[in-house]
């Protein structure tokens, strides 16, 4: 551990979190254009190395608290500043999930998708670099650049599945995405006009004397609407079901597990920027997030209940879980906020495992419909068990991963004196259990109806290892809930200059 800590003290560690994947992405098409297998292997190596860097960054945080880095040596507000705080620990999740998604895609990369392998790996690495950069930057415009850097490959990766509707789903994802990025840029422009600076902390300080002036409120509205489209919070979630179900297996795991969470991280950053200046108006914003979160839970859970396709059901489940996160953030108590942020980590883990397991089933049999997948549990026991365990984890049955966040949010609701929210938070969990059991019932306790199921064979190791590993982490994740919540609490308490 000491050696690790020594290496973690290398002052220039932070930018490497996004420079390494982006360098990998730039080199892959140049070096390995004709050798897809090597390209896949090196992309996986880069992703794993980035995860290791994330571990080192976390070790340094545990050592001496939040720390920053001035790019090009220019101190803020002149230059761009990076800041690694407790929320940035999500870089651990991004590195790990991207590596597992790449591992999952091995068969595709060396099989039918060989021609696209190099492009696929580069785009996935750019996605990873963009996400890592987005999470650790403390500069508003840099946040916009990294947001584009992670959104662009996401649009393309959705369209990389040969399925007929994939391109249209990607376009339905791109157009609202582009408008939302534009709104964020517009908001940043307004903030720049008001304060002359782009560094988040500096902007927050210079905004405060102005108080809740209409211009500041306009900036908040523009930026938050943009970020909420990226986070797919109800009613700005309409693009998600198509995009997440049409995308290839590993990509939908990354989209639901991580990319959607970037919008959440963005909104959390905005709490610190606008918190001190808006004060009272911020309360109204939090209430709005709360109400939208509640509506998201209900629409997501109910829609998931009636879906016929497995991946579309999981996509709607993401809409519901994003609702949980924003209910946590909206309640603004330290318990609720820590629950919301813990749910960002835990849901990312669980939903990625779920989508990978679902992809293993769907891609092996070519069937999308839950009723067609009946009886598959006996033919593909490991993948089906991973999917079932994941469904139980996402529903939040204690002590699985989903439970930690929901419990803290429920407690937060009581602390905020809003017991009626309990019905929504725990009712949503019950609904999640309902649509989960529907799939488990179909997989294990119903006779097969389609012949692809009868002839199906267990998924290859490269698909099984990531899904089983993630679902196991999700089930066990709940057991480490205390440490994760204690890790997040200081960040939750200091949010929004409370």
């Amino acid at each position: 551990m000491r050696a690790l800590a020594a290496f973690a003290d290398w002052p220039h560690l932070l930018p490497a979190l996004f420079l390494l994947p982006l360098a990998g992405a730039a080199l892959l098409p140049a070096l390995l254009r004709t050798r897809p297998a090597v390209a896949w292997a090196s992309a996986l190596a880069v992703a794993l190395a980035t995860t290791m860097l994330a571990v080192l960054a976390l070790v340094r945080l545990l050592g001496d608290g939040d720390y920053g880095y001035a790019m090009a040596g220019w101190a803020p507000p002149l230059g761009i500043e990076l800041r690694y705080d407790r929320l940035s620990a999500i870089t651990l999740l991004t590195g790990a999930l991207v590596s597992l998604a790449l591992l999952f895609a091995r068969r595709e990369m060396t099989g039918a998708g060989r021609r696209q392998a190099v492009l696929y790996c580069s785009l996935v690495l750019i996605l990873l670099g963009g996400m890592n950069g987005f999470v650790i930057t403390a500069d508003l415009f840099n946040l916009f650049v990294f947001m584009e850097l992670l959104s662009l490959p996401a649009y393309a990766l959705v369209a990389m599945s040969p399925a007929r509707g994939a391109a249209l789903a990607a376009l339905k994802y791109l157009l609202p995405g582009a408008v939302s990025s534009l709104l964020v840029l517009f908001g940043i422009g307004v903030l720049h006009a008001l304060t002359g600076s782009l560094n988040m902390a500096d902007v927050a300080v210079r905004l405060t004397p102005g108080g809740p002036s209409p211009a500041t409120v306009l900036a908040l509205v523009l930026i938050s609407v943009g970020l909420l489209v990226k986070a797919a919070l109800f009613p700005l979630h309409f693009w998600l079901p198509d995009a997440h179900s049409a995308a290839p297996g590993p990509v939908s795991a990354l989209l639901s597990g991580l990319v959607v969470k970037m919008g959440v991280v963005g909104v959390v950053r905005m709490f610190d920027v606008f918190g001190p200046a808006l004060g009272g108006a911020m309360q109204a914003f939090e209430n709005l997030l709360l109400i939208l979160g509640v509506l998201a839970i209900l629409t997501g859970a109910l829609a998931a209940l009636v879906q016929h396709e497995l991946k579309r059901m999981l996509a709607w489940s993401t809409v519901a879980n994003i609702g949980y996160i924003f209910v946590g953030l909206g309640l603004a108590g330290s318990a609720a906020v820590s629950g919301g942020i813990a749910h960002v980590f835990y849901h990312g883990l669980t939903k990625a495992g779920l989508f990978l397991a679902a992809a293993a089933l769907v891609e092996r049999t070519g069937l999308h419909d839950i009723d067609d997948l009946r009886g598959l549990g006996h033919r593909m026991p490991l993948a089906a068990t991973a999917l079932s365990a994941g469904l139980i984890a996402v529903a939040g049955v204690p002590p699985t991963a989903g439970f930690v966040g929901k419990w803290q949010i429920a407690l937060g609701a009581l602390e905020a004196g809003r017991p009626e929210l309990l019905v929504v938070v725990l009712g949503g969990a019950l609904l999640a259990l309902a649509y989960g059991m529907r799939v488990i019932n179909a997989l294990f306790f119903r006779a097969p109806v389609s012949d692809q199921v009868v002839t199906a064979s267990e998924a290859p190791a490269s698909m099984l290892v990531p899904s089983v590993l993630l679902v196991a982490l999700a089930l066990a994740g709940g057991l480490s809930g205390a440490r994760v919540i204690e890790f997040i609490l200081p960040f939750a308490e200091s949010l929004g200059g409370r």
Partner: protein
Amino acid sequence: MGAELLDARPALALLVSATGAGLIMLIGYRARLRAWLAVGAAVLKFVIVWSMLPGVLAGQVYGLTLFEVLPGLALELRVDALGLFFALVSSTLWIPATIYALAYMRGRQGQRRFFSFFALCVATTVGIAFAENLLTLFVFYELLTVCTYPLVIHEGGLAARRAGRRYLIYTLSGGALILTGMVVVQHLAGTLSLSGTGILDSIDNHAALLAIFVLLVAGFGVKAAIMPLHSWLPAAMVAPVPVSALLHAVAVVKAGVFGLMRVVYNVFGVEHMRVLGFAGYLGLLAGFTILAASVIALRQHNLKRLLAWSTISQLSYIVLAISLLTPAATLAGIIHLANQAFAKITMFFAAGAIQRATGKTRIDELDGIGRQLPAVMASFTVAGLSFIGVPLLAGFITKWYLSLGALQAGSGGYMVVLALSGLLNAAYWLPILYRAWFKPPAGVAAAGNTSPLAGSAALSPMMLVPLLICAAYVLLLGVGAEAPAMPFVLAEAAVRLVFGLPGPAP
């Protein structure tokens, strides 16, 4: 009260049957291996649980923290008198149940899955018994639902699936209610621990306390089959007999009632309950359920459905005992956990044996069954009489202390309810016994085998022996209640714990 001793045995008891279940699922392909694994796990668990009896009787408490799930909330095991009693009952009953199931399921399909979930169920039951806080109890409570679901729909087919769906809807909704109640308790009391006698004493917010009570009682009431939350139980009769035996006597319904005990005794605490006065309504509901279930039982034709309705009424005896909040009633409630378990499992084994030997499942077909299956019917009779409350049998002990408790609580009216229920019990058990013993078997000439033992010869000893053991236990519980090694002594220790009485039982 002995110091809290850190001991691995509670977790070991849990692990034994969990690993047993795992092994059966992985390598339990051959029947012989499966049998050895199942019975081995059962006996091993029995030994571990019983090894803790002397310690607990001496006031020792065994505890073990597994995982810190949330700040201030951990998956924790703690063996106290009440917990050990429930674990004792289920682990003792699990051995005959396993042996009986091995014989009953011979030749049926899906045995590997059946026996692994069968073992898992009792592992979770012991988990519920040893839970130190409401969260651990809830975790195992939900796991129990997930494990029993495949058993309930084991037969496959539409009826099984519909019963399974209804079972899930009821139990999972119950679970959601409990979870809600738990959050409110954590919010108000700051802890969910069940080690003390009441963690809500310092709370005076009446509305919240009522909400907690209603939520937790309704949540646990689903599995305790209190009306109107009972209708999943008769529907679950579609499951194979060993599962019904497991469901009714050992695991599921007992988990519900045990949960109620934990709520009333450890979450609220007896004094606080008396002050709040909610328990009275629970008593009324229990009384109503006792009578209504018995009346419905009168009109049942299928033997297993009759047993189901009888269970619903018997469970409410325990709920009534809980609601009276007096030492004698509590003792009656705890001891009835065992009495009802042994009597009901005997009856289920008998019903299974009759169905297996003669294919009969309806009551009006049981003419002269006594002569055909004398041993089976003898034990059925013992159990029946015990339910009616004939002295020297287990049922009588419960009724005795329950009436004593009712008097102590000053609500003598329940004496009437008990008497009425005794009559009703007689009304639906005696005709069966009369029909079995005193009526000539229908078409005996056609059957041709008039020798008394012919019928029971068709039954393998592996079904008969557990049947007789349980019937003997019903007798033993009735006669030798005061004997040292009997569960009665443990029940008294539990009562002393609940009421904080230092001396021997009342």
